[in-house]
Structure formats: C-alpha cells, structure tokens
Symmetry: C2
Subunit: 326 residues, 2 copies
C-alpha cells in the first residue's frame, strides 16, 4: 500500500470581531466517493485547503505548505505552526477502497489580510459556524443547554459499565463545564472529541457524513476529519495567545487597544475586563504608543499602538495572561 502525505492548513484571520478560517468547497465532490455524495444537498461540505506533498520536489514540509498556499490563495502567511499529524485510515472513506494511505500533516497559519482568496471556491467562514459552543462572548451559548447537555446526558446513560460511565461523566463535566466545573477555553479538541465519540456530529456517522446541521447536530459539519483539525487549531491558538505574542500577526501594524482586545476576545471566545486588559498589555510592555490616534471608534478617540518587539528579550513568555486560569 502506498503512502501519500497531505498538508492541510487552518488559515485564520480576524475581521470585524469574527475569527475566520479559509474554507474551500469542492464543487466536483472530489473528496467524496460517489456513495457518499449527498442526494438532497447540492453543496459539497466545507473543507480545509489541502495540498499534497511532492516527495521529490518539496524540500521541507513547511516550505511545501507555504508554497501551495501562496500559489493557490496568494495570502501572505505570517505565523505558521505545525499542529498535528493525523494518520487514522478511516479519516478518508476512499482508503477503505484500496486507495493510498493518506497521512495528513495539519498546520495553523495566521494572516492579517482577509482578501478574497484567489481560488474561486475559497471563502472565509466564521470559526464558530463549525464550533458554535466555543463562543462564550455573549454568555453561555444557547446550544449547550438546549442540545449538547441533554444529548450528552443521554449518551452517558447508554454506557453500561458503571466504572466507565463514571469516568466518562467526569470527563464530560470537566470539558463542557457541567455540574459546576469551570469552562476552559483551551479544551476545544477534547470537547469535539467527546461530541464525536457520542456520535453527535455527522462526521461520526459513516452513512451520511455531510448532511446539513440539524437540530440534533451542533455546528456545521466539515469534510472528513477537518472539523477535528479546526478544533485542534483553535485550542492551540487559544493556548498560544497566553504566552506568545501571536495576536499581533492578526492585527495591522498599528491598532487601538480595543481592536487588540476584540481580536483576543474573538479567538478566546470570552469577554475580558477592559481596564484590566489595558493595564496588562501596557504594563506588560507588549505595546508602545505610535503617537497617532483614531477617530473611527465612535466615542473618545483611541490612541494607536504597535507591537513592541523588545518584549521578546525582556520576558520569557510574553503573552496575554488571560484571566480565569487557576
């Protein structure tokens, strides 16, 4: 059996307070074998941009990724980070039919621009379309109480081994913040994994993996295991915010503190105390005033800032130290 290496990218940009990822729709259903093509649904599922590794030509994985991304989308990628390598053969139905074994190396990439991608089928989509339970900016997402919690409770009831049931119950509580547990924004992947195991997401249904989101399925599905990759990316990014100045890769060179806060809130999915956020960022030496001000905010004009590179030298882990940890 031959092996193929695929490179998949979660390309993130934040505009208008919405964290967006680049999604491609394959109109020819290239990714789905015939029997999996939805009948009643003309649209193919959202998928992450994908490029194969050419083992002869491509020098390093990172270079290969940057290569085809810039070729296909023309986007200027700033920060690029390898996320995870997925090797489960069942992630792609084609492999059951004697196709090559596809190993996917997933990447997280940040970009400032939100320019329309060069490839016609690419669109920017709100992350939280796919993971609506992750957005707590307007309070606890409604879908958690209305759909996810009861469905998971029901799933837990189906576990016969009491020992195992107790364990899983605890795990669900911890990850989703049920029964008094606190919400940890970073556990994105663990939460998706639970929904997958409980078969609450269509990706876990082998028959019709790409049906439209129904009342019984939280969030819009994606092709193959792409929603899992997205969850990995969001979790990683949320964690990284705290100890590396990656937000600035998503902002213009000069920005107001409110803009900065808006982006952080968009990614972390929680609201932050404005005054403390200011103090944190300013006293932490992460930014310095550019001297200009902007009047585009509606109220009092805001000072503009830019990222202070020197902080990298001064502090071992220059990040945003969001509240709520421990």
């Amino acid at each position: 059996m031959t092996i193929m290496i695929g490179l998949e990218a979660v390309i993130v940009a934040v505009t208008e307070g919405i964290p967006r990822i680049l999604s491609v729709r394959h109109t020819d259903h290239a990714l789905s074998p015939p029997e999996h093509r939805p009948l009643a649904q003309p649209e193919s599922p959202d998928a992450l941009p994908f490029g194969p590794l050419d083992p002869t030509a491509d020098c390093t994985l990172d270079q290969a990724l940057r290569g085809w991304v810039s070729e296909q989308t023309g986007l200027p990628l700033g920060y690029v980070e390898q996320l995870y390598t997925f090797g489960d053969p069942y992630r792609d139905p084609r492999q059951r039919e004697g196709g090559p074994r596809v190993i996917s190396v997933a990447y997280l990439a940040l970009t400032r621009e939100c320019a329309p991608a060069r490839e016609q089928n690419a669109v920017w989509r709100d992350c939280y379309t796919f993971l609506p339970w992750e957005d707590w900016r307007e309070g606890r997402p409604e879908i958690l109480g209305s759909l996810i919690e009861p469905a998971l409770q029901q799933w837990l009831q189906t576990i016969s081994d009491p020992q195992r049931q107790r364990r899983q119950h605890e795990r669900v509580d911890i990850c989703f913040g049920f029964s008094g547990s606190s919400w940890d924004p970073e556990r994105v992947l663990e939460r998706y994994q639970i929904l997958y195991e409980a078969a609450l997401v269509p990706e876990a249904w082998p028959e019709q993996p790409h049906s439209a989101p129904t009342a019984a399925s939280p969030g819009r599905p994606m092709a193959l295991d792409h929603r899992r990759i997205l969850a990995t990316a969001l979790g990683r990014l949320r964690g990284k915010l705290k100890y590396r100045p990656v937000v600035f890769e998503l902002l213009p060179d000069t920005f107001s503190l409110s803009q900065l806060q808006e982006v952080v809130e968009a990614l972390s999915g929680v609201r932050l105390h404005k005054q403390n956020f200011r103090r944190l960022v300013e006293k932490g030496g992460l930014v310095e005033e550019s001297g200009e001000t902007t009047f585009s905010t509606g109220g009092r004009p805001a000072k503009l800032f830019h990222f202070r590179r020197e902080v990298l030298r001064e502090r071992p882990a220059p990040g945003l130290r969001l509240p709520g940890r421990n």
Copy 2:
C-alpha cells in the same frame, strides 16, 4: 519516489534524580551509509528507538507506536503525546542516494519503570549527556561560559549583514540568557537550533556527523536529527509540567513531596524553593496524603502522598506553576 513513515519515540523516565531517555545503539551501523561510518570509533551513535509504520496493518499512528515500543522494550508506556513531524529530506543521508523519502513522526512517552529494556542494544541515558547546557540544577552549566558563549559570539561575528547580525545576536541572547536575559527552561529546541545553525554540533557537519564530543562540540551527539527530536521533547515536557499533571506519570503511585520535587527539578533543570513547592502542591490540591510515611530519606520521615485525580475537575490547568515565568 516512495514515502516511508517512521515513528520515533523519546521515552522518558526519571530515576535517582536523573531524567533518562531510552537510547539504542545499532551495532551494525544500519542507520549510517558506509562512507559515514566512523573509522576510529567502533561505537555507533546513540539513536532514538524507531519503528516504521506499516500502512496496511497499523490502524492509527499512536497504536502503531505503542505496538512496537511494547514489543521491542516491554515497557509500560503511560502518557504518550505526539511531538512533531519531521520531513526534511536531508535529515537522513540515505535519502540523497535515491532511498525513500522518510517522514518521521516523533512521540514523547513517559514511563515509570526503568527496567532494562528487552532489546539488548537499548540503554537508559541521562538526557543531559546530550544537552548539558540545559541542566541548571547545580548553577549555570560550566559549558555555557567556557564553550558555548564564546563560540556563539564568534559565529555572530561571521554574519556580514548588520541587520541580520543584530537580529541573530538578540535571538542568541534571549535563548541562552546572555547579556542579562533570563534563562527560560522551555526554549530547549530554540537553543539546539541555534547551536545547529552555528554548526557547533556535529549533526550539522555533513562529513562526520557522529564524532565523539570534543572540546569544540557541546554534548554527546545523536544519530540523524535525533538530538533535535530530544530537544523538542524536553522543551515540550518542561512546558507541560506547568499546566498538566504529567509528573505523576513518572512517579510511583505513592511518593514523598521531596521525591516529587526531585523529579520536577530533574526535568525542568532548575532548583526550586522547597517550602514553596510544598505549599504549591498541597494547596493546589494536586496530592493527598496516603497516610503512610517513609523512613528512607535519612532525616525526619516523610509523609507519602498520591495524586489526587479530582483536581482535574476543579482546576482548568492543574500543573505545577513553576516560578520564573514573567
């Protein structure tokens, strides 16, 4: 060109205050092409245990890894985590000669036991044999001042572009804690990467990559890019200590707080304030008394503790919150 997937494991155990990894020596020089076999040196280099992925039989990457590790070593792996996927074709000299392209998926695995590995060529080795500059438990490692700092200064002088030189100088200072920068135990990989770029490690010398450590080369080299993988593993593990209770995977079920501290110090490479460490661990709810005491410590008998699983539910990031951050 065909592709091969290799799985490499950094298997870590801590005994007698020494963080050890499992290393294999290939007596038949299987990993080195003839022209790279050292002439004056009968021993082959240390290498990480390695197993190929069978694309037909192996179901998931994780399972494949656990499979061959337990088969070859009989070690009970506890915590297993995927580290990184390395795809640089130059990492293996054989690839220049038309061999298959090898993509390596590296894993970090923790184990309690330090039993002699089943495979005859496997030995446990002190991590800091390979990365001596990472061990600050007895103060600043001598090798930093005597060898690394001057050699890096010399390397920086060879950079002609002043802009680039300034950047690299800053980077070196930040990573190695020169010029008043603080030492960040987590930047293990970045430090190795600098040594590699500055050609201070034999792995960067294409001619004789496995020569013995000389006065001009800090630390014992490893085969191929294995020292880079080790650096990745150590950095990741040091980071993880802070927000996940992974240390307990390395300890027996019941342990004294001094034992716990010893393991943490061994891995993080720094000494900790004993009383504060106690407070942290106890007040953090990470452990609870088992009721027993041990007399094996020399002085006053120590209470024994065990890991308190409930902490996973109570706190979002139950780790050890080591000092020195920010």
